[in-house]
């Protein structure tokens, strides 16, 4: 009976009425242009010709490194923009896989920058199909220390994983509490790979690069399938643990990766409707989390992780609230800068809601970037340009936030690169809101919450 009630609650919370912010009017699809008064569009760059322009986006955080990395998706390239002038982003570098016309796949998907010592790097993940060249290529690593001089950008390594063709869909570069910079990567198997990036960029033997793997514990693990789709890795100062928050087939799981060679499962989040768990981002203190499941009509769910974090339960199956921009659509990735959640919401562009009251999320700002026909999203075949119908997977793909000044960047599959500022958000530091200063932004010099002294490897 308890389970039935729980399931009913899940459905109720995921219902239209529960997630749709009553304060934001539901717009007709052909009316989704521009945004609200709080959101200010600074710049828009198309980036590529053709129907599909971008996948994910990555923003450097240092004040003297105003660089944005735009993943080229099916264009198979990566572009680096200098956004010193936020009103006029300038493309300063572009790199494409060799023989691009012979490759087949969704291409350049996710990018992460990282720093080791005094050098800066950028890792571009790739996904090519079996039968295509580079089907085993996961990521290309660039030394970008010399930016803005493009001639100093060099490819220093390529990470390949031939055991699982299809590359890396999502990645996370993490400054571990032990001082290492680790690279977590999804593959088409029921685990996430963990690489030591210092070994990768230093030219160490390839056999030393991979240091661990985090299994996906959901039921499909037993049959070998069910990979992760995305994850977040963050430090928990309360428990002094490095934690991995993974979203994959079957649901979500949280792991202690303080020793990434031997991850330990802490708890899971799974219930009906979690089969295609997609994104999982906790609050800085790990108390709450925002999750996305990748199918139309599903809202973002907000969870109270306390029972799991404190060991009271092995599995959490009831969210505490939900949010959606438009119940007819689907959100995608998100960044948490507590209490704000910045969402790249596909057809609904950039959406920002706040979780001051986690049980009552409230939309703060938005800007429509897709300007596209409803339900004509990504799909089809490589040879018809991935055109398809009846898919809402189009529009805003990735979002990132610059902590020191609150700049928001967004990548849109249909329209390219966008830069925004939102009223009332001029930067973020967790301490300012009574939280640990922990987000997806890494302190590569000092480690999470300054646990590590600056280390020059």
């Amino acid at each position: 009976m308890r389970r039935l009630a729980a399931l009913s609650a899940v459905f109720a919370l995921a219902s239209i009425a529960g997630a749709q912010d009553p304060g934001v009017p539901l717009k007709a699809f052909d009316q989704k242009h521009a945004g609200n008064d709080k959101m200010h569009m600074l710049a828009h760059v198309d980036g590529h010709a053709g129907a599909w322009k971008a996948a994910d986006i990555e923003l450097e955080q240092d004040r003297d490194r105003p660089y944005v990395y735009l993943c080229g998706f099916t264009n198979f390239d990566v572009q680096i923009y200098d956004i010193r002038n936020t009103a006029a982003p300038k493309k300063i570098y572009e790199w494409t896989i060799e023989n691009p016309e012979l490759h087949r796949g969704i291409g350049a998907m996710d990018g992460k920058y990282f720093k080791i010592g005094n050098k800066y790097y950028y890792a571009q993940s790739y996904q090519f199909m079996q039968g295509s060249p580079d089907a085993d290529l996961g990521a290309v690593i660039f030394d970008v220390t010399g930016l803005p001089d493009p001639s100093k950008v060099k490819v220093v390594a390529r990470i390949r994983y031939p055991q699982s063709p299809g590359g890396f869909h999502n990645t996370f570069a993490y400054k571990h509490s032990d001082g290492r910079v680790l690279y977590f990567a999804t593959i088409n198997q029921s685990k996430a790979l963990v690489y030591d990036l210092a070994k990768v960029v230093s030219g160490a033997p390839e056999s030393t690069w991979l240091v661990g793997a985090v299994p996906n514990p959901t039921p499909f693990k037993q049959i070998g399938g069910g990979g992760y789709h995305d994850f977040y890795v963050g430090y928990d100062p309360a428990t002094k643990q490095d934690k991995f928050y993974g979203a994959g087939l079957g649901g979500y799981s949280v792991w202690d990766v303080t020793k990434p060679e031997t991850p330990k499962q802490l708890f899971t989040i799974t219930s009906l409707g979690m089969d295609v768990a997609h994104t999982f981002t906790p609050s800085p203190d790990g108390r709450y989390a925002v999750t996305e499941t990748e199918y139309q009509y599903t809202p973002l769910r907000i969870w109270d992780l306390e029972p799991g974090q404190t060991g009271k339960t092995q599995n959490i199956d009831i969210p505490i609230s939900a949010w959606t921009a438009d119940w007819r659509d689907l959100s995608h990735n998100h960044e948490v800068r507590w209490p704000y959640v910045f969402v790249s919401a596909y057809e609904d562009g950039l959406q920002v809601f706040d979780l001051k009251d986690p049980k009552n999320p409230h939309t703060d700002g938005y800007w429509y970037t897709c300007n596209c026909q409803h339900e004509h999203g990504f799909g089809g075949t490589p040879d018809n340009g991935w055109q398809s119908t009846t898919s809402v997977e189009q529009g805003a793909f990735g979002v990132d936030v610059r902590n020191y000044d609150g700049l928001i960047v967004l990548s849109d599959m249909r329209s390219g690169l966008w830069l925004f500022k939102m009223d009332g958000f001029d930067g973020w530091n967790g301490h300012d809101v009574g939280m640990p200063n922990i987000s997806s932004v890494q302190d590569f010099d000092h480690g999470p919450d300054r646990t590590v002294k600056a280390v020059v490897p």
């Binding site: 079996q130 031939p162 055991q163 063709p165 198997q189 037993q222 049959i223 399938g225 069910g226």
Partner: protein, 654 residues
């Protein structure tokens, strides 16, 4: 030049085979190949192994998913065995004899039960089918059994009372001679385990019948096995009455019965004989043998130092037991029974000693139920000289020899240097779960060449690729018909009913690529669980008629063009070796490309997606079967009849 008559004892190296090491096939892993394959052979790449290993668990993923929705698995649960007398399905007019009082049961001994799996097996004793190494059964199929009663030869018979099978011996016959040919139960020891199987005259392969061209012999067939049977003279353009097809040219010969065949051999070449009743059992269990018809021309073939017969077969064995057959209907109906122990001349390992430079002529026959071979001789130069029913227009150098079930080829091989030449079957398997090709090499034996030079030295003759003008002239008469429109079109396809849900769903998902030839059984669990009760293989003509409903007539003396298309969109596209009784045919084109070097055939492989044009010399009156020679496909209905109507109205239906 005088042709060398081979020492009869050397055609089958009976003595040496008993001392050699047996080799078991370990499918699907290159690592296995590294352990047993001589250095002359290729190895699978490490990547192939890794990719395969990674893909294995995903097989389970698909299976479990399908299992979750596999409510229909209940359909495959054992049912109560039928109470009516058994009928042996697959052939027209066949019925099992009524059960005997079975005094043989009194002879059953503990030893019999211990040594063999010769008993009819109840449904509730599933015997898992051997899977490729490292590949588990699809979870949704675990525990299921084919919906047939299990059958193995010699139920209730004490194996110790059976003779041990011997290797084949040559039986030279001349015109007018009579041969007693007895199908009997025997013991065979393979891989150290003893099985009850069948043999002609106690020999496996059966006696090599060697006759001169145009001879007519009498064969008194004695059926002393526990199933009805007949003898079909494969490839021989003989009198239709003696073609050996029950329900068409004769009644099946009951267990204990006899039949007399009069067999005339109009064509020189290599032929074979085998039952035409439940071939999936009888042929698989050892009832096969060759006929070598010698041309009166002393230089019919180029000179060779020696002749050897190679009869290729495979057995499906799980540890120490034969995988049973379906009593009421063939199992492995989807792909046919593909064995995991390959044999040459009935033994798992073939050995031959030769001299340096020796030219050896191999007469090769594929008697497997389903397997197609790609045979080579360790890189030794090889040329093909003849096929099923004739020599080629021109001898041709080949890297290997491809034989579908029932095909024969004659090849000359010259062992130029001393050393060891591995006789291998090398193919490219497909790992559907990893989406990769996986090379497989099975070593069937070896030819050890010593330093002693062969005498005479036929290097020059071997290097010359002979043109056989007589063949070319013969074929020339038919060239005006090469471009005629087809007289008959057949599409090869399949219909299924009530297969396990997991099988159906998996087959629906796995549609990315259809290999033109399926060399191995990549999904033996699905294959095993399919019987001819659920699978109907189809020859469909241009009028939509199927199998035995097709009404196909030709006048004696006419030249019939048959176009066969192997539909790649069928539920289980795979190659089919199509065999026509009693006539000879030319493969004049494949996919619109004319064949440049012709040979008369009686069996032609039709790869997936291919359109093959056959030109039939319909010179022999009577009712002649045309069917797929994969035994289980034949058992699942893939057959029809060409009625060649003679001047006196010879073609008839029974």
């Amino acid at each position: 030049m005088t042709r060398i008559d081979a020492d009869p004892r050397e055609l089958f190296l009976a003595e040496s085979t008993r001392t050699r090491t047996r080799h078991e096939r370990f499918p699907m892993t290159g690592a296995r190949a590294q352990g047993v394959v001589p250095s002359t052979e290729r190895f699978a790449s490490i990547r192939d192994i890794r990719v395969f290993a990674g893909g294995v668990v995903l097989r389970m993923a698909a299976g479990l998913l399908l299992a979750c929705s596999s409510l229909a698995s209940a359909q495959q649960k054992p049912k109560r065995p039928p109470t009516k007398p058994d009928s042996m399905g697959g052939m027209p007019g066949m019925r099992m004899p009524a059960a005997k009082s079975d005094s043989s049961k009194k002879t059953k001994s503990k030893a019999a039960a211990h040594d063999t799996m010769s008993m009819d097996m109840p449904h509730d004793m599933p015997m898992p089918v051997p899977m490729p190494k490292g590949m588990p059964m699809i979870p949704g199929l675990v525990g299921l059994t084919p919906p047939v009663t299990s059958f193995l030869p010699g139920s209730g018979v004490d194996p110790k009372r059976l003779p041990l099978a011997t290797t084949s011996r040559i039986t030279r016959l001349k015109n007018g001679d009579t041969l007693d040919l007895t199908a009997q139960l025997v013991r065979r020891t393979i891989k150290g385990h003893t099985f009850v199987m069948y043999a002609f005259n106690g020999q496996v392969p059966g006696p090599l019948i060697r006759v001169p061209q145009n001879a007519t012999i009498t064969v008194r067939f004695h059926n002393r096995i526990d199933l009805p049977s007949t003898v079909h003279w494969h490839g021989v353009r003989l009198d239709n009455r003696f073609d050996g097809v029950p329900g068409l040219t004769q009644d099946s010969v009951r267990a204990g019965g006899d039949f007399v065949y009069t067999v005339h051999f109009p064509d020189a070449g290599i032929y074979w004989y085998h039952p035409h009743v439940r071939e999936d059992i009888e042929q698989a269990m050892g009832l096969y043998g060759n006929v070598l018809v010698d041309s009166p021309e002393h230089d019919y073939y180029a000179p060779a130092n020696r002749e050897q017969m190679l009869v290729l077969d495979d057995l499906l064995i799980n540890a120490d037991t034969l995988i049973p057959f379906g009593k009421e209907a063939p199992d492995f109906a989807l792909m046919g029974r593909v064995g995991n122990v390959l044999t040459v001349n009935g033994e798992p390992r073939y050995t031959l000693r030769a001299k340096r430079g020796e030219v050896v002529r191999f007469f090769i026959t594929n008697v497997s139920s389903s397997r197609t071979y790609n045979l080579s001789f360790g890189g030794a130069p090889t040329k093909v000289v003849a096929g099923d029913v004739s020599r080629f227009e021109r001898e041709e150098r080949v890297p290997s020899v491809v034989l579908a079930p029932a095909e024969r080829y004659v090849v000359d091989v010259r062992f130029e240097s001393s050393g060891k030449y591995a006789v291998v079957n090398a193919i490219q398997a497909i790992n559907h779960y990893a989406g990769e090709f996986s090379p497989e090499v099975d070593t069937l034996g070896a030819v050890t060449v010593d330093a002693t030079p062969a005498a005479p030295d036929y290097a020059k003759q071997f290097a010359t690729l002979r043109s056989n003008d007589a063949v070319a002239r013969d074929i020339e008469r038919f060239r005006p018909f090469f471009d005629k429109p087809p007289d008959k079109t057949l599409t090869l396809t399949v219909a299924t009913n009530a297969l396990p849900l997991a099988t159906v769903q998996f087959m629906n998902v796995d549609t990315a690529y259809y290999a033109p030839v399926e060399w191995v059984d990549g999904m033996p669990d699905m294959n095993w669980l399919s019987t001819s009760k659920q699978v109907r293989w189809i020859l469909r003509d241009e009028h939509g008629k199927e199998n035995m409903d097709i009404d196909w007539h030709a006048q004696q003396g006419s030249v019939v063009k048959l176009r066969i298309f192997n539909d790649p969109k069928s539920f289980h596209p795979m190659q089919h070796p199509i065999h026509l009784h009693g006539q000879r045919m030319l493969v004049v084109s494949r996919d619109g490309v004319p064949t440049k070097n012709l040979v008369w055939k009686d069996t032609a492989i039709i790869p997936v997606g291919s359109t093959v044009d056959l030109l039939i010399d319909a010179s022999n009156p009577g009712d002649w079967m045309l069917h797929c020679h994969i035994a289980e496909h034949l058992g699942a209905g893939m057959m029809t009849v060409l009625h060649v109507d003679g001047a006196g109205g010879g073609g008839k239906s029974r």
